[in-house]
């Protein structure tokens, strides 16, 4: 899974994958992934590169993720999907395409396994009597089509999962 967060220093790209109950998170393409495991009482154990672990706490509040670690609080924001719209992209942060509002899937423009370019239209949705084209947030391979044509979806429902393009 890939996602983006914005903090005071700018936007960060995170790549998370699960391995033996541990979530390995690559931060901004760093060489070493940071291992994170769920701990008791809602805490997370976050491993450092040197193998030491620190406890962190995370809550979700509106469009922010608040993280407490060692006396400091970090406010992370998901890039705003509305702004992504204005920029002509769709759901600009993850490679996964989700419904931005409740509506009906009118047409699927791609199939699983197909290579897509960033900005390529994937789905046509109808919401509030208006049709909207949703485009691929990044280039990649279509992992899975999660919906069928004519299906009614809720806000946030996954439509199309896009995986990374295979390495050259």
């Amino acid at each position: 899974m890939q996602l983006k967060f914005r903090d005071t220093s700018g936007e960060h790209v995170l790549e998370a994958r699960r391995q033996d109950g541990v979530t390995l998170v690559t931060v901004d393409g760093a060489r070493d992934a940071v291992p994170v495991t769920a701990a008791g009482d809602g805490a997370w154990l976050v491993g450092g590169v040197d193998g030491t672990r620190r406890r962190a706490w995370v809550v979700s509040h509106r469009d922010e993720r608040l993280v407490f670690c060692d006396g400091r609080v970090h406010r992370l924001r998901r890039p705003d999907p509305v702004h992504a719209d204005e920029a002509g992209g769709a759901g600009a942060e993850g490679p996964d395409l989700c419904a931005r509002m409740p509506g009906k899937v009118v047409r699927l423009l791609v199939a699983a396994g197909q290579a897509v370019a960033a900005g390529q239209p994937l789905v046509i949705m109808e919401s509030m009597k208006m049709e909207t084209e949703l485009a691929a947030p990044v280039a990649g391979i279509v992992d899975r089509i999660a919906v069928a044509e004519g299906q009614v979806v809720a806000q946030g429902d996954l439509l199309v999962a896009v995986g990374p393009a295979p390495a050259e």
Binding site: V36, V58, G156
Partner: protein, 515 residues
Amino acid sequence: MSGARREICTVLVANRGEIAVRVIRACREMGLRTVAVCSSADRRALHAELADVVVELGPPEPAASYLRGDLIIKAALDTFADAIHPGYGFLAENAGFAEACAAAGLTFIGPSAQVIRTMGEKTAARAVMEKAGVPVVPGAQLPQPGPDGAFDAVAVHKVCDSVGYPLMVKAAFGGGGKGMRLVQDRAQVVAACEAAAREARGAFGDGTVYVERYIAQPRHVEFQVFGDSRGGAVHLFERECSIQRRHQKIIEETPSPALDDARRRAMGEAAVAAARAVGYEGAGTVEFLVDAQGDFYFLEMNTRLQVEHPVTELVTGQDLVRAQITVAAGGPLPWTQEQLSSRGHAIECRVYAEDPEENFMPSLGPLLLLREPSGPGVRVDSGVRQGDEVSLYYDPMIAKLSVHASDRAAAIERMAAALRDYPILGVTTNIEYLLTVLGHPAFAAGRLHTGFLDEHLPAWRSARGDDAALALAAAAAAEFGGRPQGPGAGLVAADPAQPATPWERLGRYRHPGLG
């Protein structure tokens, strides 16, 4: 001084937050029935929940609830309370309220209305202290200026030379810095007096000014005193409260790193003399300014339990609230001076919902996540729990975190560890700011004065960039899920508009903010 027994069976606590909780717990231990009062905003507050009986006073505004002495006395009579504990703040130093309690046949847990009144007037308090032989900041009255506003230079020099330079010119009926001038040397003093008098006349309608020796970079050192209705008076050592922001203490400790045994004894004796001078009953605090040479001067007396009383309790092993109730019931002081001793070192930090990067603006909102630190020598006095709200009506203090250790260095380390282990999310807090103060070399060296924060941390910024990667990784993992199911698992979804459960976040990633 009657020494008469006044039976106390039910205590009404005329306060809210951590201090109300603290008093209710002490009453519980003593087998006393407790009555809480609350505003409509505090119906589900911890203090209202803990008491045996709760009476709602009115709307959230303090003036319509916690400051309504008439409603509080009626609540006490209606619930058969025989005593009222005022806590600190609100009505704690209101002589009229203490009088009204007595008139209604209720025991006010604190000193007499007369003492509250005398100590509340700065010039009267200063006169009482001077008479009792307690040192006050050297000062003198100035001769009145002529009709044109000009002072007699010879007379002014004579007075000011005897006080010594640098000195402060102050308005006799002033406050808030108006009519105040700092004078470095003899050459400027006449002009400064004239300017201050003009300003005081304009601001307060009275141009009377006086001069006082200027104390540069003073420490704030206060002594806890206790008196009973039989003429007994003791002190429970000092607290150094020099770490202040706009006259608001944020870190307090005992013993003071500035006092040696001889100085401590002299100041303790002066504090007890001050308490005796007014026939003080109950818990009180005598505040002193201490200059660079170690000389001390009476500042004021607080006729109540102080916010920072836990540090005194930690080093003396005594319960000040219990002693307050015992003494208010006409009992003798539970200790003689010789029985009191101070062991180890204690520090208190006030944890506030405020933003140190935004001029310490109160940070309002829900406490989405709150885990209190614990361990040997760690004490948390708090009136809120996870899920409670920091509202604009009351003081945004979340808790007082206090630690006790064998010496000052160990206490600082213990405090820093406890603060790092005190996750509070939802509102911004001063925890990282407190950590910066504790980690400052001047703090470690004990070089404290009331201007410490302005001098050493003038434009504080968080160093959160240092562990940005860790925070990002934790947030990504929480987003991804991966927490085994069970209470408190998963990402805590706490958007009040969307009461999503953490389980919704588990499993495959979905576009956040939309689900």
